[in-house]
Structure formats: structure tokens, C-alpha cells
């Protein structure tokens, strides 16, 4: 007669099955966020925000009153303050194309040999998984004049402005 506290074969098997079932139940019932999945979410966000800027830039005249270049040209050069002052025309367009997203927009351009970055739309502090997309537009004095904007350009001057949008999901 063996009096030691040993594990019998059947009990061992039962314990093993129990442990495996527990591990299986936990892994199957919760959605594990693997790096690939959060990557996919970021890719989606980046894709949509760069699409929105692109679509706004290329939009034909029959669709929109002002395309991206005209929106930028019509800026009155007043920096945005939260929440009252922002670039209304651009905000209206982006809000229509990206419902459910929040975004801040900056304009970056060279003035007197220095890179100037001005905030034009502020919707709050960007979250952890924010993405930035960019689009360049070229302004002429003619466009600025037509849109009644605040830029002062010579008649033969071209100004390249980088539209920088930081977008995030809430």
C-alpha cells in the first residue's frame, strides 16, 4: 500500500484538461489586440484623413463652392483660438467628409526666410493615436484676391503652403 500523496493518472488527465479548457476559454472569449490590429486602425485613420484632403483638393467645381486651394487662399491670417476662432470654410468641408473624427489643422509656409506654422483649426488636444497627413497647395495673388484672403503676395509670386492635419478618433 502506497501512502504517499501522489497524483493518479486519471486525476492528472482531468487537471490537464481543466487547465487547457481554462486557457482556451480565456483566449477565445477576449479579443486580443495584437500589434497588427492597432496598426490597421492607424492605417485606416491615416488613409481617411489623407483621402479627405486629397478629395477636397481635387474636387471639381460642380461639387464644392471652395476647393482646398481656395479655402487656404481665403484665410484671413488670424490664428485660431479654441473654441471661438477657426477657419470656417475649411472646417465645414472637413466636418462633412470626416464625420466622427476630430482634427486640428495647421498651415506651414515660408515667410521672410523663416518657416511659419500657424494654427487654423483647433478642436482640442490630439489623442494618443493621432495621425498627421499633409497636402501642399500653391497660392497666387489672383486666387487670394478672388477669395478676399489676408495673404499679401506679389502678382508674379507663388506661395506654397503645407496643409497639416492632425486627426484622431474619440
Amino acid at each position: 500500500m502506497d501512502n504517499k500523496a501522489q497524483l493518479h493518472t486519471l486525476e492528472g488527465l482531468a487537471a490537464a484538461v481543466l487547465m487547457t479548457l481554462t486557457v482556451l476559454a480565456i483566449t477565445q472569449s477576449t479579443m486580443i489586440v495584437t500589434p497588427q490590429n492597432s496598426l490597421a486602425v492607424n492605417v485606416q485613420l491615416e488613409q481617411m484623413s489623407s483621402d479627405a484632403l486629397g478629395v477636397l483638393d481635387m474636387a471639381p467645381i460642380s461639387l464644392v463652392q471652395y476647393n482646398l486651394t481656395e479655402c487656404v487662399a481665403g484665410w484671413n491670417k488670424t490664428e485660431a483660438t479654441y473654441p471661438t476662432i477657426k477657419h470656417e470654410k475649411l472646417d465645414d468641408a472637413l466636418w462633412h467628409l470626416l464625420p466622427g473624427l476630430l482634427y486640428n489643422v495647421d498651415f506651414a509656409y515660408i515667410e521672410n526666410g523663416n518657416l511659419t506654422v500657424e494654427k487654423v483649426i483647433i478642436n482640442g488636444a490630439p489623442g494618443d493615436n493621432s495621425v498627421v497627413s499633409r497636402r501642399y497647395v500653391t497660392l497666387t495673388n489672383q486666387t487670394v484676391h478672388m477669395m478676399d484672403g489676408g495673404w499679401s503676395l506679389q502678382d508674379d509670386e507663388l506661395k506654397v503652403v503645407e496643409v497639416r492635419m492632425t486627426a484622431w478618433k474619440v
Binding site: K4, A5, Q6, A40, Q47, M48, M58, K89
Partner: protein
């Protein structure tokens, strides 16, 4: 002395250690066993991304059997399709497009008619396991942003392909912001607009006229007549004003900065005649003509913002 308390035996310790080592080894080396979102499934993400990108940014390509003909206008050569893409292209001989994310109406129309096997093969919606092809499930839809995600209807077909996504499976989904060609419109400045507009039928889609930069003090819209018959608002045509991205109905008076959109029912222009459309405003002076503005010469494609959603499982 013999110890009869319940202590751990060395046998058990050895056994359980071996078991745990074996379990850890199995979990580590067969990633698909316990993890959802594993290597095998994440290839769905790439498939969805690739499919959405090809459809939105590429024009497609066809080559015939002898290799003598090729172009991006695959919608006119459906038996020789090499690649499916929906982006518009005005130069079908060259492979370049400068209009990604702008989708052509005729291409979408043909895309809805291609047979199931063709779609799966041309868009690569399958997994190749040791030479055997397993088709993925997919759902590709083009929905209106303004209309709360309702698919467009082009030529009587809703712009949806594939089956409904199942609830109990992992789905890879990519959404693209695109512009969809839904009809045509003539964009006219008030100073080039004449009282009369000539429209040569037949038209299968609504005839849209956009008027910009109307001048005058307190201008208002009176009526529209077609071949001297006064048209009824709402049933024959609608008139809206557009400020930025918002449209609202016009009841009489107009703001000077608004874009005026007149949308005429296509049923009014169903035979191949030249129709005479007269627009009448008060407090607006228009060029009485002739020559009259020709709608057919001035019309350009009309686009609507949309989401193209690709789901793969």
C-alpha cells in the same frame, strides 16, 4: 520515519513541469492556436487594403488576346479585363491617371455586372494554400456620406457587391473617402447665362444647372418654362441653394453669394429633340441672346462625396 502529510511528490513536480513546458512550447510555436488576430488572419488586412487602394486609385487595364489592343477603358472590353479599377481617366491609352479617388460612373456600372469569379480572380480576393485557391468572403459598397451611408443607385443597381458580412468572424475593413460621378451638370456664371438654355435630349439622368455669382438687389426666382409650358416645382424640378457644403431649398428670394442648383427631372427630356428651357428671375438682368447657352456643350460630370467600404473575411 514515514511522513503521511500531503506533500508534493517529485514525480508530480516533474510531471507538471513537463506538461507546462509542453503547453508553453505549443502556444509559442503554433500562434494560430490560441490567438485571434494571428498571422493567418492578419493577411486579411493586407487584402482589404490592397483591394480598396486598387479600386480607388487605379483605372484598371485591359489587353486583348493578340496583344494588339490595350487601355484603361476596361468597361468597354469586359472580356479582356486584366485589372479592375474605378478611377476616372480621360486618356485610356496611357497607364497614368491624375485623378485617384474620383470614381467613374461607367466603370462602377460595369463593376456591378462582372461575374462573381471574375471579381475574385481580378481583385485577388483569395488565399493560395499549396496551389488550392480559397476565395475570401467580401463586401464592397459605395455609400453616400450626405445620405447617412445609403448606397448609391446607378442604372437601377445599388452600388454593393458581395455578401453581407458575418457577425461571428474576424473582418478586415478599410474605408476610403472618394468622389462618385452621379450625373452631369452645367456650371454657369450669371454673366454668361442667357434667358434661354438649349438642351438636346435624350437624357437618362437628371439635368442639373448651377448658377454662380447672380447679381442685382434682392434677386428672386420666378419660374422655369420648357417649350413654353410652365414647370411645377418639386415634381418637375427642384431648386436649391448651396452655401459651402450645405444645401437648402429656395422659396423665392436668393442671396447673392449662393450657388443656385436647378435639378430637372430626366423624364422631361426623353426624346432626341432640342428642348428650349427658359428661366425667369426678378431683379436679375440676363443676356437675352441669341446665341443661347447649350447645356450639352457646357455639361461636366457631377460628383458626390462618398465612402467606399471594403470588407474581407
Amino acid at each position: 520515519m514515514m511522513d503521511e502529510k500531503g506533500q508534493i511528490a517529485v514525480d508530480f513536480l516533474l510531471g507538471i513541469s513537463l506538461f507546462l513546458i509542453a503547453l508553453t512550447f505549443t502556444v509559442q510555436f503554433i500562434p494560430g492556436m490560441f490567438m485571434s488576430g494571428s498571422a493567418g488572419e492578419s493577411s486579411l488586412d493586407y487584402t482589404a487594403y490592397r483591394t480598396a487602394t486598387i479600386l480607388a486609385e487605379d483605372t484598371g487595364w485591359w489587353v486583348n488576346n493578340t496583344g494588339s489592343g490595350s487601355g484603361t477603358d476596361w468597361e468597354a472590353h469586359t472580356s479582356d479585363i486584366k485589372r479592375i479599377g474605378l478611377a476616372v481617366d480621360d486618356e485610356p491609352r496611357s497607364k497614368l491617371t491624375n485623378s485617384p479617388n474620383i470614381l467613374s460612373k461607367t466603370k462602377i456600372e460595369q463593376f456591378m455586372l462582372i461575374d462573381e469569379d471574375g471579381i475574385i480572380e481580378k481583385l485577388g480576393l483569395y488565399n493560395n494554400v499549396d496551389g488550392t485557391l480559397f476565395a475570401y468572403g467580401y463586401n464592397i459598397s459605395i455609400v453616400s456620406i450626405e445620405n447617412n451611408g445609403i448606397p448609391f443607385v446607378i442604372n437601377g443597381n445599388a452600388t454593393v457587391r458581395g455578401s453581407t458580412a458575418p457577425d461571428d468572424q474576424e473582418i478586415a475593413k478599410i474605408t476610403r473617402v472618394v468622389l462618385v460621378e452621379t450625373g452631369h451638370a452645367a456650371v454657369l456664371n450669371a454673366n454668361e447665362l442667357t434667358d434661354t438654355i438649349n438642351i438636346k435630349g435624350p437624357y437618362e439622368e437628371n439635368v442639373t444647372i448651377q448658377i454662380r455669382n447672380l447679381n442685382g438687389t434682392n434677386p428672386s426666382f420666378l419660374n422655369a418654362t420648357l417649350e413654353n409650358v410652365t414647370l411645377t416645382q418639386h415634381s418637375d424640378f427642384t431648386i436649391t441653394r448651396k452655401t459651402g457644403w450645405t444645401s437648402s431649398e429656395v422659396n423665392g428670394s436668393i442671396h447673392i453669394n449662393d450657388i443656385i442648383c436647378l435639378d430637372f427631372d430626366h423624364g422631361l427630356f426623353n426624346s432626341s429633340n432640342t428642348y428650349r428651357l427658359d428661366l425667369s428671375f426678378s431683379n436679375v438682368t440676363l443676356d437675352p441672346g441669341p446665341p443661347f447657352v447649350s447645356y450639352n456643350k457646357r455639361s461636366t460630370p457631377l460628383y458626390e462625396p462618398a465612402y467606399m467600404i471594403v470588407e474581407v473575411w
